[in-house]
């Protein structure tokens, strides 16, 4: 996300997000409203993906923007404002995920590909179920299936997936937001996608691996 991202602060003016943050640091209340209106939907979307429900996501939006107000002076502009916002959102969502009772643990490994000692796929043939997914499963069912599968991911894997596949951040940007190396981001993203693939395979009646 570019530092120069333009943000609407009024009907006729455009300022950079950097300028908006500087005004906020100076205590400008109107700027807080402008930042909220500019970014709350982004925060809400990320939190909903991470938590799986809108009610908790709304609470996270409040927590995040209160933190933006209280901690604006700590924002040094070394990363983009949106990166900072993603980090605050992830932290707020993670603390809620940690408080949740783990009712049904799923062994992630059971849905990852497995291989024979010589490196071949363990279960062969691998079935290609990629064609006409939408014709085989109603859209609502597919959406529900994906939501449930994403909910089962480990929190950090989920955060990486959300920022990559829903927010379109680069691996470098995700690393900055979550404090991970690019290699670690890729490893977690790959594992999350493999797990979702396994879940879809099972839903279509095939071996997950």
């Amino acid at each position: 996300m570019a530092q120069e991202e333009r943000a609407q602060s009024g009907p006729h003016t455009e300022v950079t997000e950097q300028e908006l943050v500087q005004r906020l640091q100076a205590g400008d209340a109107e700027t807080f409203d402008a930042l909220f209106r500019q970014y709350f939907q982004k925060v809400f979307r990320q939190a909903t993906h991470l938590l799986g429900n809108a009610a908790e996501a709304e609470e996270v939006v409040q927590e995040v923007f209160l933190a933006v107000y209280e901690k604006a002076h700590t924002f040094r502009g070394e990363a983009a404002f949106t990166t900072w916002l993603y980090r605050l959102t992830t932290n707020a969502a993670f603390s809620r995920l940690r408080r949740r009772q783990r009712s049904h643990e799923v062994a992630i490994e059971d849905y990852l590909p497995q291989f024979q000692p010589d490196g071949h796929h363990l279960v062969r043939p691998v079935v290609d179920w990629s064609a006409n997914l939408e014709e085989r499963l109603a859209d609502a069912q597919l959406q529900q299936l994906l939501r449930q599968a994403i909910a089962l991911l480990q929190p950090l894997d989920k955060a990486v997936l959300v920022l990559s596949d829903f927010e379109d951040l680069s691996n470098k940007e995700i690393g900055e937001a979550l404090g991970l190396t690019v290699l670690a981001v890729k490893a977690r993203l790959h594992r999350a996608r493999l797990f979702l693939r396994g879940q879809l395979a099972v839903a279509f009646g095939h071996a997950p691996i």
């Binding site: 205590g27 209340a29 807080f32 409203d33 909220f36 209106r37 709350f40 939907q41 809400f44 979307r45 909903t48 993906h49 809108a54 709304e58 939006v61 409040q62 923007f65 209160l66 107000y69 209280e70 901690k71 604006a72 002076h73 700590t74 590909p113 291989f115 010589d118 490196g119 071949h120 796929h121 062969r124 043939p125 691998v126 079935v127 290609d128 179920w129 990629s130 997914l133 597919l142 959406q143 994906l146 939501r147 994403i150 997936l161 596949d165 829903f166 890729k186 993203l189 790959h190 996608r193 493999l194 979702l196 693939r197 879809l200 395979a201």
Partner: protein
Amino acid sequence: MAESVPTRVTCEQATALLIDYITGELDPATTLVLERHLERCVDCVAFLRTYKETIRTTRTLRYDDMPGELQNRMLQTLHAKMRGARPQ
């Protein structure tokens, strides 16, 4: 000294390369080795197709936006909380 690229990969190694392959981030030599593997491995072709379809489908997942009236109510709540809080 340049790192040598293996001339063959197993299905397990091919699977590990997919994340970079689909975004074109693999170096040309490794891409060639992987594509040679894909030419003769129907299992890995099926795996690649389902892997790509998983990503495409995941990206279609939607959640409703926050309703407009809630945005305004939330902003009012935040204003009230901000009056009670001081920037740290």
